[in-house]
């Protein structure tokens, strides 16, 4: 992986991995995909960011799945333990394991993509396709606006504190402090957006027609072939799953 991947190649790989994992519904495969994603994250030196982000998302979800299906699974037959209405069943634990590993694999695959992709590359790759140019703008603008807003919010808080805003205990005081920070933030952002719209319009942002870009993203034929193969593989997995478990009551 010396060479930088084309953004679409990485995206296709992540999406195909997620689709195949979902279609297969086989927890050893989910675990394998998750481990592969962790391994690639370590090799690309983003594990320090991917793993905490994944943990924040996955820990509450997996705990909730474990409690929900581990204790309450009315469809379960094999009862392992029972306290009043709560029954630990083998089927429930298996279900929690299947869904927990599946979601873990999908989340890790997508986070690996989003933490390794270069946003300028992605935006210029999108501009080359028939994607509305506004989409690329929204994506890039949001990703650059987020850090700027936290700086701005900090400044607004400091300004209000010098004007005497004190956050005391109690809901009313907290909501009042919230109002003092939210209103200036929203007003400033909307006002900025207005002037940005004029600047963009002056540069022909709203006019129809194809866009060109100064940034060339290399797209080697090998990566194109890989994308096609990954898409065919994912489609085959979906088709296989649909054929295997088409619901009985629906005419096919």
């Amino acid at each position: 992986m010396k060479q930088r991947l084309h953004p679409f190649t990485a995206l296709t790989a992540a999406a195909s991995a997620a689709v195949v994992t979902t279609a297969a519904a086989y927890w050893p495969l989910s675990v394998a995909v998750a481990l592969a994603a962790v391994f690639l994250a370590v090799r690309r030196e983003v594990a320090g960011r991917v793993l905490p982000a994944a943990a924040v998302i996955l820990t509450p979800l997996c705990l909730s799945l474990l409690v929900l299906h581990g204790l309450f699974f009315p469809e379960g037959q094999t009862v392992l333990a029972q306290w009043g209405p709560a029954r630990v069943t083998a089927e429930g634990l298996g279900f929690a394991l299947e869904l927990g590993t599946r979601t873990t694999a999908c989340v890790l695959a997508f986070l690996l993509f989003s933490f390794t992709v270069s946003v300028p590359d992605l935006v210029s790759a999108l501009a080359g396709r028939r994607v509305p140019p506004q989409f690329g703008f929204v994506l890039a603008s949001t990703l650059t606006l987020l850090p700027a807003v936290s700086v701005r919010l900090d400044r607004i808080r400091q300004a209000q504190e010098t004007r005497g805003m004190v956050v005391r205990r109690g809901l009313v005081s907290r909501l009042g402090a919230l109002r003092l920070q939210m209103v200036p933030l929203v007003l400033a952002l909307i006002d900025d957006a207005g002037s940005r719209a004029q600047a963009l319009d002056a540069r022909g942002f709203g006019s129809p027609g194809p866009r060109t870009t100064y940034r060339e993203v290399a797209d080697p034929p090998a990566q194109r072939r890989f994308r096609a193969a990954a898409l065919v593989f994912a489609a085959a997995a979906v088709a296989g799953r649909i054929v295997a478990s088409w619901p009985a009551g629906v005419p096919s």
Binding site: L68, F72, P74, E98, S141, L178, I190, R196, P247
Partner: protein, 273 residues
């Protein structure tokens, strides 16, 4: 102010019919997916983790959201497009600020509703769907809920068009109804894709319904009917308060606000231009 850039999308454009078809196709994909999922939900999830339903839910809802974005995004005026990143940032930042007050709600749609109030249902729907897609860069579990977020934005815009934001007591009611619909539409995603809800509070409610013998979809739908309407009522109220806290000059520069008299009160004496 360049008023031309702020006008409501002019109807009767050349590609207008194609876009209208795409919009209808997107809405139909979302509705058909929901109906299909409810009709064919696996009676016995013990047989496997509902992989077929998960694929149908993901495919159908994402297709609907993407069709809506493709239909709506190119016709939005620039002044609305630049508001979409603002809305997404507000969803995130205001959600975090609200979290700091210690209230037990995940208030993550304030920006979407605010944009819908200022710029209309189409902008609201596009904002909701795009928010989910862009936010999935940091949290991929948001992505499957794009259709629900689009529905929230659309309904908020329709409520604003109908004048429900002119009286402060109508806004929470509109939010309550929106929450019912959005919660019901999002429940199959939570049930079939994730197998539950993230968060221990909502998980406990689902567990209670499961203990009474409900199917997973029924339990999660009932949980959504308990938490989502309350959550959206609060979100709509905050968005209304924000819309009124903003200066008249700012809110009335949006043609949607002027044209449908979204907010109470007179427009500023002479809107410039």
């Amino acid at each position: 102010m360049s008023q031309s850039a702020l006008t409501v999308t002019a109807p009767g454009q050349a590609a207008g019919r194609r876009r209208r078809l795409l919009e209808i196709a997107g809405a139909a994909a979302i509705a058909a997916t929901y109906i299909f999922l409810v009709l064919t939900q696996p009676a016995d999830i013990a047989n496997g983790p509902a992989s077929f339903s998960a694929l149908v839910a993901l495919g159908g809802f994402l297709l609907g959201a993407v069709l809506l974005i493709v239909a709506v995004l190119p016709v939005l005026p620039t002044s609305t497009v630049v508001l979409i990143p603002v809305a997404l940032v507000l969803n995130v930042v205001l959600g975090q600020l609200m979290g700091s007050t210690g209230l037990p709600f995940y208030i993550d749609a304030i920006g979407t509703v605010l944009i819908a109030v200022l710029a209309g249902p189409a902008a609201g729907a596009a904002t909701g769907a795009l928010s989910s897609i862009v936010w999935s860069f940091f949290n991929p579990t948001v992505l499957p809920f794009a259709a629900g977020a689009a529905l929230i934005g659309f309904l908020a815009g329709m409520a604003a068009r109908g004048g429900l934001f002119r009286r402060f007591y109508f806004a929470p009611i509109a939010g309550f109804v929106t929450g019912i619909l959005a919660g019901v539409v999002s429940a199959p995603i939570a049930a079939f894709v994730f197998g539950g809800t993230s968060g221990l509070g909502t998980g406990a409610i689902v567990s209670a319904f499961r203990a009474m013998g409900d199917t997973l979809l029924a339990a999660i739908t009932k949980q959504a009917l308990i938490s989502d309407p309350m959550d959206k009522a609060i979100v709509f109220t905050i968005a209304a308060l924000l819309a009124y806290a903003l200066p008249r000059r700012t809110t009335f520069q949006f043609p949607f606000v002027r044209h449908y008299r979204v907010l109470a009160g007179k427009s500023p004496a002479t809107p410039d231009a």
